[in-house]
Amino acid sequence: MKFSYNWLKEYIPKLPKPEMFREALSMRAFEVESIEKRSGDYILDIKPLNRVADTGGHMGMAHEIAAILNTVADRKTESSALAEFLKTRRLEPRRVLREILKNNKEAAKKLRGFGVVVEDYALCPRYMVARVDGVRMKGSPAWLKKHLEPLGINSINLLVDLANFIMFKTGQPTHVFDADKIKGNKIFVRQAKSEEYMTTLDEVECKLNNSMLIIADAAGPLAIAGVKGGNRAAVTNDTKNIIIESANFDGASVRKTAKTLKLATDAAQRFSQRLDPNIAEYAMGLLVRWILEYAGGKPKGFCDMYLKPQYPRKIAVRLEKIGSVLGEHISEAQFLDVMRRLDFKVSAVASPREIVVKLAQKLLGHPYYYGASVMYDAPNRFDCSSFVLYLFRQIGVEIPRMSFQQYFAGIPIADDDLAAGDLVFRSQKSPRPGIAGNRRTYGHVGIYIGNNKVIHAFSGRGAVVEETLSAFKKIAPYKGARRILGRENAIHFVVEVPTMRKDLMIEEDIIEEVGRIIGYDHIAPKPFAEAFPMPERNDAVIWRDKVRSLLVAAGFLETDSYNFIGSEDIKRFGGATSDYKELLNPTRPELAYLRRSAVSSLVQHIPRNYLGHSSVRFFEIGNVFLKEQIKRMSALQYDPGDMQKEMIAGAAWSDARNAFYLAKGAVSALFESAGIDDVWFDNKESAFPSYLHPYRSATIKVGDDAVGYIGSFHPAVQKLYDFKKGEAAVFEIDFAKFVDAAEAEIEYQAPSQYPAIVRDLAIIVPEETRVQEVEDLIENTAGPLLWKTDMFDLYEGEGIEIGKRSMAFHLVFQSYERTLRDEEVTISVAKIIKALESKGWEVRK
């Protein structure tokens, strides 16, 4: 937001040059994004974040700067305008306007013959209009233009300029209608109808819909609430009579409308951050006063639709909590000084529980009224929860309105621990229409006052009454006790914050005010004073690092890829987009779906990299997303984490045709190094992913469990990815299954004490015969004495008949019980040879 240095200086005459307080502002309140010199002024671009409500105008910003620079104490450095602003800020709502217009009784009267209808106060908490007849339009005075120009606001006409001036001064946008162009004698604040249209001041036609709030007359829309005025009732140089609007609109609604219509106006920017309905009154007062002064005319009074006036919030603050959160002792004097600089009223409360109890006792006998308003009915009449809410509000402690909410806001305590000031709950005795579930179960609340006594606003007796706890429990099922006041009877302060400070709700908010105004640089870094338990070990982190080390040792480079894939790549991988979880708002079409395989990311890195290398190897440990897993969940237990699967993926490319064995070697080493010895490669599976070579692929299994796959990349798919040469092989292993297998309990097995006997066998088999098949046959016929089978040679070529290949194995025989005799090994080998030969394979002897 833009602020003029000269303008700020009007409120703080001793304001130093911007570069002098830029740092202080950045360190204590807001980031100053830029300072720009413009026509004898400096324009500061300040980011007020969540504080637009109080610093969206020059006046509030000046007050903030004054508080930071601590000029508030020095009345001479503070202008009378700023003093007046602070004074009005302290006034009760509905008194502000009268105060500002106290010299003009006509203006402060009720407007006759003109009405406002607010359809939904949730969307428009406050709507004020004032009427002035017989204004004289003329050019804006030089001072007015001089204030607006540096902020980039062009002069339109006197009235519009004044309205803009008020917005930049107070932060509250206002609007001026030409009263004679309004049809009928009513203004409606209502939702637009679908297919309703409005043309804006700058002649843009907007199509409205029923999610948008508009200001309308009998003939249709006059303005889009909080966003932009329409041209039908715009003020012109011929305007005589005017209706001035100053209102408060719901932030979310304005933000949504401005976004839909793409109208990022100054007004929308402010309203969408939620403004204070009381500042609307201040702005209205000032605008009427200035219009009467500069454009003349006769005030006809005002109309104020303000159903739920907002009052300053009381917040309980404990000094020791401030010290504990900041980690630095804050003295009472320091705290009170900060509150003074911020112009917050502070009172001290010695024992909050006692005050609450005493107040409750004082209110005994007040009538019960279901749905009593805390704002209007208290302290005259109460229902059970408004009674409790009212009590706590008096000591600055805010709790929710309804009893079941109060139940959940409190800390559960046992009846044995009950202390005066705690709350007790029971179910509602007689059902009320529309009240069910928790609302009914925890439908009644009372306050415990010690000595086994409870005070509560009780419908059954029509008043605030005192009873014993056991009597309280008898009426309906007792639901237990809750504690609102966490720390016993500590002394605390009650800070009263003006309604403009919409950002201040709880104790921690006040702690932030203290911390930032004193300065976080005054907090010295300190190591933890308390003991923490030993941090839990994260096995996934450890295993991921082990896997990385092993694959790195095998020559693989780790990549980091996007989790996404595009429809083009899905097609290349032989998938259907319907199987992929889709993004609602992708940034690029090639990253529009969640990937189902990390290999789909890895292979894309190969063609970009292989030039000049004889082999490249990549791996990645990342997540894939299996959409179907989410469909299986019921709507009530819905965890998108269930569709996520972590994978160890690798891709090896080689300019020779040996990529599969490169990859397989790495995978075998990976499992072996992790101590998983029952891993094997199963080629029986018929349905390999279609991007794999059907005759160069295998399922990776540990025991009977499939944990991943390995395979050469399908030549047709490889072609699509523009690998001109060589072969790529890929693998993907389920990380969780890998870790499970690796973590299977290690139990030491002593090596056999007896010597082993090794026999070698060479077998000639047809080339399509798999090593696994031969090994299986050997192991299944050898009997228990065969300890292990190691293939040490696989050969085809010279000396071997074409279409056949030779496999050679070491057969290691060993026993745990005794030294083996040569003869028994010979018998076993003979059995193996017989079995091999029965397959028609030739065993070389």
């Binding site: 949504k256 504990s324 709880i506 702690i511 990385r548 095998a554 480079l557 990549t559 993004l583």
Partner: protein, 354 residues
């Protein structure tokens, strides 16, 4: 006796001439072998008479010893020479390249993340993890960012298409009444903290490193996917002072100023996040360099604790978040965040072993 002299003379002469160890062996056979010249003389002694036999025998045995000694010396000498020669013949060009072995390496972000995990591990922080696709509740609502809150716009979100649920799978009476939760790619790793707090009792200290996602226009410092590091410490009296100590210790360990260089300094500026109160921007300055914004932090908002079933009257703590990509960019002087996910070998290989 003459014969012995002759043998001696011939043997010594021949021994001097020999350069080939094989010839040496023949010489040994010729004189000292079973049928060798000297052996034959010794054998023929039995035909001689006593005195002669003693005299010649003594001389022959002396000669045998002498020849054997000479032979051993010559043999050793020859072997040494021969070994030297054959070693010279085996000479290779050691400047020629070795057999090519593929060299692998971890990604620079892994390297940075490992260091982060190690440093925080030494400070007693455990590592917590969670899903990358999340619900609106975990990513926003539980963090005190309701749907219509302007703060939602601080995180440009990649949303997932809503899933249609079969009405039959819904509990009776709820079909059509409950909408599936909105799914998204997590915009920060804060949901991990929420999930952790829901399932653990304080006190605890955790970090949650992981991939996060934003709907953003990419440039040298923005990407739609990157790594984030968040930290959370909840205890009885965890404070802003503890936060400052933790972050300052971390940055000094991570960036490791060299001896003589100034330590890394941090400072806190007020900021606003819905899930912390107070909230800070964290600036960092190495040595006498300029301040730069490096992290967001704050004291966990009591409502967030309450949302996770932790009593804010008893517990308080801090949270912080920063980009691991950015940490790595600063540490390794990488100018463009997009390089991390381009996966160019020339880029990746630079971090091997570092």
């Amino acid at each position: 006796m003459e014969e012995l002299k002759k043998i001696r003379k011939h043997f010594e002469k021949k021994l001097k001439e020999i350069v080939d160890p094989k010839v040496l062996e023949t010489l040994e056979v010729e004189y000292l072998g079973r049928k060798g010249k000297l052996t034959q003389i010794l054998r023929s002694l039995k035909n001689r008479t006593g005195a002669e036999r003693r005299k010649i025998g003594k001389a022959a045995n002396e000669l045998k010893e002498r020849l054997e000694r000479l032979f051993a010396v010559a043999k050793k000498d020859l072997e040494t020479k021969h070994l030297e020669r054959s070693l010279r013949e085996e000479r290779i060009d050691v400047t020629a390249p070795g057999h090519s072995m593929p060299v692998g390496g971890v990604h620079p972000l892994t390297k940075a993340a490992r260091e982060v995990i190690d440093i925080f591990g030494r400070m007693g922080f455990a590592v917590a993890e969670g899903p990358e696709a999340e619900t609106e509740r975990y990513n926003f609502d539980a963090l005190n960012i309701p749907a219509d809150h302007p703060a939602r716009e601080m995180w440009d979100t990649l949303w997932l298409k809503p899933e249609r649920t079969n009405p039959k799978s819904m509990p009776a009476g709820l079909a059509g009444k409950i909408r599936n939760p909105k799914l998204l790619m997590r915009t920060h790793t804060s949901p991990v903290q929420i999930r952790f707090m829901e399932t653990h009792r304080p006190p605890f200290k955790i970090i949650s490193p992981g991939r996060v996602f934003r709907h953003e226009a990419t440039d040298a410092s923005h990407d739609i996917q990157f790594w984030q590091l968040e930290g959370l410490a909840i205890g009885r009296e965890v404070s802003v002072a503890n936060l400052k100590w933790t972050l300052e210790s971390f940055f000094n360990q991570f960036f490791q100023p060299k001896a003589g260089e100034l330590a890394v300094e941090i400072r806190l500026r007020p900021s606003y996040f819905p899930f912390t109160e107070p909230s800070f921007e964290v600036d960092m300055r190495g040595g006498d360099g300029d301040w730069m914004e490096i992290a967001g932090a704050g004291m966990v908002h009591p409502q967030v604790l309450r949302n996770c079933g932790i009593d804010p009257n008893l517990w308080q703590g801090f949270a912080f978040g920063m980009g691991i990509d950015r940490l790595a960019m600063l540490k390794y002087k990488i100018p463009d965040i997009r390089l991390f996910r381009e996966n160019d070998i020339k880029f990746l290989k630079q971090f091997i072993g570092k």
